[in-house]
């Protein structure tokens, strides 16, 4: 351990209440609106609620109880700086973000706005320079390496733009890798069925360089689902694919979101993807921008 320890739960909820009372937080997207003057407000029995834009407000109104609960993932004032030689680049500058269970969230924004870095923070692939990350109300930003590895193994499934399959392993071995690391039993029959469903029946014993981009990404999807994670994180999953193949991949991800209630967070430049999402989060310069849906066209190609 030896790392700065997590705050005790009682203090933590106390802090949160205070914070919520003092600042204007959009509960739907998590954006801190304290610095903005003309914020949409809704006054209800349970208090006053602020919204960054129409979409967040209408989502809230449809299901106010849901958004007054604990978000699946909450980023609280997260900062991430990178040291490149002597120059320090501030990628995330106090990011606040809520992701709700079962949502299909599309993160959009210009290049270098911190989308991917934020996704890495959500998926515990990196440590924030400062700030807190909560998973189901539990602070996970200061966990030990092995605890974070276990969470990555069981809770998150990752899909990357460059597929990131291990080149010296066959498609099937790549898919079994998460099972090996989580210590689960490998059910070959089930895996073969998955490959067949994915249309990769004949490709299971091929190595990545023998597969097309679409086949590689489908293999990567199978790998991401191998441990049946609750959250799928995809960093531009269709960025390297033609639109037909990309749509197929997106379809698979969305089916998983709709049918099996997996939370899906996709970083994308694709307007088509953003269009289909339950929630759009727009980034600019390491922050969220208000009225995310308005940027749907601006930040996508």
């Amino acid at each position: 351990m030896g790392k700065p320890s997590r705050l005790p739960p009682t203090n933590q909820s106390h802090d949160m209440l205070k914070e919520r009372a003092q600042s204007k937080i959009d509960l739907v997207c998590g954006m801190d609106l304290s610095e903005y003057a003309d914020v949409a407000e809704t006054i209800r029995q349970s208090g006053t609620f602020y919204f960054c834009g129409n979409e967040c407000e209408s989502r809230f109104k449809k299901n106010p109880d849901r958004f007054q609960g604990e978000p699946l993932i909450k980023l609280n004032n997260v900062q991430k700086f990178f040291q490149l030689g002597k120059i320090e680049t501030k990628v995330l500058k106090g990011l606040d973000l809520h992701i709700w269970e079962g949502d299909f969230v599309a993160i959009i924004g210009p290049s270098g706005s911190g989308k991917s870095t934020a996704l890495n923070m959500i998926g515990l692939l990196d440590r924030p320079t400062s700030g807190r990350i909560y998973l189901r109300g539990k602070d996970v930003s200061m966990l030990r390496d092995d605890e974070r590895a276990e969470l990555r193994s069981k809770t998150f499934g990752f899909v990357f733009q460059q597929y990131h399959l291990i080149p010296w392993l066959t498609a099937l071995q790549n898919v079994t890798l998460p099972l090996v690391f989580s210590g689960k039993k490998i059910d070959t029959n089930a895996l073969n069925a998955d490959f067949e469903n994915m249309g990769l029946k004949d490709r299971a014993h091929h190595r990545p360089f023998e597969l097309s981009g679409g086949e590689q990404q489908r293999t990567a999807l199978l790998r991401a689902f191998a441990n049946d994670p609750a959250i799928i994180l995809a960093d531009e999953p269709t960025g390297n694919l033609d639109s037909a193949t990309g749509n197929k991949i997106l379809g698979i991800l969305m089916d998983l979101n709709k049918d099996r209630k997996k939370t899906l967070v996709v970083v994308t430049h694709d307007a088509g993807i953003a269009e289909k999402a339950d929630q759009i989060i727009a980034f600019k310069d390491g922050h969220l921008v208000r009225d995310h849906h308005a940027y749907k066209k601006t930040y996508t190609e």
Binding site: L125, F160, P178, V180, F181, N227
Partner: protein, 401 residues
């Protein structure tokens, strides 16, 4: 865990075959040297000891020169007076003394001229010495019966390899313009000093070389049952009275063994140092390979961590890999080492040095130790880069190009 990780590691090693084999090769060379030394060491020791003890356990050889370096004395050409040596026969316990002499001379056979080492002694006693103590037998022909007839006996190698045609008993050779008849040829002894010489009588040797009544060395035969140390002391005392050769050495069987031992331990020490150095080079090789291959796979490490690999899992993967490279290098090194030792012994055999290597005398316990050492070397050299790799943040590793 090991069972599931093992195939993964194998695939990763086989993915970059040239790099992996080069690393293994580096270790193989180091281990090969160690194994050659281990398997030939005893054989060499025994051969040298055997060679030095060939003159028998009840004999003493007298050589000119200081004890620390008797060979220098022979090369220096100092000669004892024959009378001083023969007087040693009066010492109690001495059976007889055979003064011996050496010298190079040109020998002609069928028009072909070669320089050969002549070995001179009186046939009378020398025949006995040769036949009974060194196990020398005549292959063909017979020992000359007197000292004055121009007859010579040829060593095994001299007979066969010195001249283009094999020399036969009864043939005529010319030593320094004097005709000799080959009266006998000797069987193989396995020593250059005996196999590649021509034996003639002392009288004829003096006639040829013009040297008067000197002797390069002497062979002393002790009566059976007499303590050799005491006789040696008396010989030493009596010889110290003569003034021709100041420094001389008495080579007793025990001293010969000691000499062989000390020469050999120096040789062994040098070889072991060489072997250790090459082992260190091998270790640096593994370290270098592991380091670059970890760097090369940084992205894959990021991927594996992203899909749930713990630091320990990454560390294990790389340690298994480097350990395996170490152990494969060790096994191949042992196999090639034994093979090389065997080939060396075959080559030595063709030069007449026999018994350098035998499968029965292989030290299997030593080999197990070698395997353990190579495995540990592999693991240790892999540990540093592997730890570095394991500790990286996945996002950082994924960004790596």
């Amino acid at each position: 865990m090991l069972k599931t990780f093992f195939p993964l590691v194998l695939k990763s090693i086989r993915y970059r075959p040239i790099r992996s084999w080069l690393t293994i090769f580096g270790i193989v060379i180091g281990i090969m040297l160690v194994v050659i030394i281990l398997s030939l060491g005893n054989g060499i020791k025994n051969t040298i000891k055997g060679a030095l003890q060939a003159f028998g356990s009840d004999s003493i050889i007298i050589l000119p020169g200081k004890e620390t370096n008797p060979l220098l004395g022979i090369l220096g050409g100092q000669k004892f007076k024959e009378k001083d040596l023969m007087d040693l026969e009066q010492i109690e316990g001495v059976k007889f003394v055979v003064p011996m002499d050496y010298g190079m001379a040109n020998v002609e056979y069928r028009g072909e001229k070669k320089a050969v080492l002549l070995h001179a002694a009186n046939w009378k006693n020398y025949t006995q010495v040769l036949e009974s103590f060194q196990g020398i037998k005549l292959e063909e022909g017979q020992w000359p019966e007197d000292e004055i007839t121009s007859r010579a006996v040829l060593g095994y190698v001299t007979t066969r390899e010195l001249f283009q045609k094999k020399v036969a008993v009864g043939d005529e050779i010319i030593i320094k313009s004097k005709r000799f008849i080959v009266s006998g040829t000797m069987s193989r002894i396995g020593e250059q000093m005996v196999d590649s010489v021509i034996f003639i009588s002392t009288d004829l040797f003096r006639e040829l070389t013009g040297s008067r009544s000197g002797a390069g060395s002497a062979f002393v035969k002790i009566e059976p049952g007499v303590p050799i140390d005491i006789v040696a002391k008396q010989i030493r005392y009596q010889l110290s009275q003569q003034e021709v050769v100041r420094d001389f050495t008495l080579l007793t069987p025990e001293k010969a063994g000691r000499l062989a031992g000390s020469v050999l331990s120096i040789v062994e020490l040098i070889l072991i140092v060489v072997a250790l150095i090459s082992l260190v080079v091998g270790a640096v090789g593994i370290m270098n390979t592991m380091y670059t291959s970890v760097l090369e796979r940084t992205k894959q490490i990021g991927v594996m961590k992203a899909i749930g690999a713990s630091n320990d899992a990454i560390l294990s993967l790389f340690l298994i890999e480097s350990g395996m490279i170490g152990i494969v290098g060790g096994i191949l090194g042992i196999i090639f080492g034994i093979l090389a030792a065997y080939i060396i012994s075959l080559v030595a055999d063709s030069f007449g040095i026999r018994g350098l290597f035998s499968f029965a005398s292989l030290d299997f316990f030593g080999f197990v130790v070698i395997l353990i050492i190579t495995f540990i070397t592999g693991v240790i050299s892999g540990a540093l880069p592997a730890r570095r790799a394991a500790k990286m943040e996945p996002a950082e590793a994924l960004r790596y190009e």
